[in-house]
Symmetry: C2
């Protein structure tokens, strides 16, 4: 029953600010979806999360960071409203993606190396 | 009462194998010290850890990996004995250090970028 050849390497990784967790895989999904949809409600629905959960998550990020990562605005009389990432939110997201790409590439290479 | 300028970014990161944590900051310290000292006892002492803790930590890594990361041998009649990293242990350690360097460099650059 195959033993050591089935090793699958991966990693856990998140950014912290002043020692507090700011952004991990979950937060990245949320920010990406908000960026794509321009709406907390739609982002939450796409991720099968409640609006309340998404809002709480963003609040936690913002508290650790001391600055909003998402700008929301009411939609006026017709309701709706929208959300977009702030500059800080955009930077955080792209920093994380950059690091993730790096880690993925490296793990992929290490994997081929190890399977010699 | 400086507010947002005091942001200090860092990260948490560890390697996993088949979904189980294998190597994080603590494990890296242990492997590095064993590599340097060639002895579990000395490594533990340098890190102000008990021998039992270090041994347990290594055991956890090896269980997740399905292979030893450290080779130990008894010292014969004169006691002592020694420990050295296996090839797998060496690879793991250097992979982790490589990734850590990458993350450090990137965070350092991101920091200068953000302080514009």
């Amino acid at each position: 029953m195959a033993a050591q050849s089935k090793r699958e390497f991966s990693y856990k990784f998140w950014l912290e600010c002043n020692g507090k967790p700011v952004l991990g895989k979950g937060g990245v999904q949320i920010l990406q979806e908000i960026k794509k949809e321009g709406s907390l409600t739609k982002a939450a629905a796409n991720l099968s999360m409640s609006y309340r959960y998404v809002w709480g998550y963003l609040h936690k990020i913002e508290k650790a960071l001391g600055e909003p990562v998402v700008d929301t605005h009411k939609g006026g009389r017709l309701g709706g409203g929208g959300a977009r990432l702030t500059k800080v939110g955009e930077n955080l997201l792209s920093d994380y993606k950059h690091l993730e790409d790096n880690l993925d590439k490296f793990l992929h290479n290490a994997k081929s190396k190890r399977s010699d």
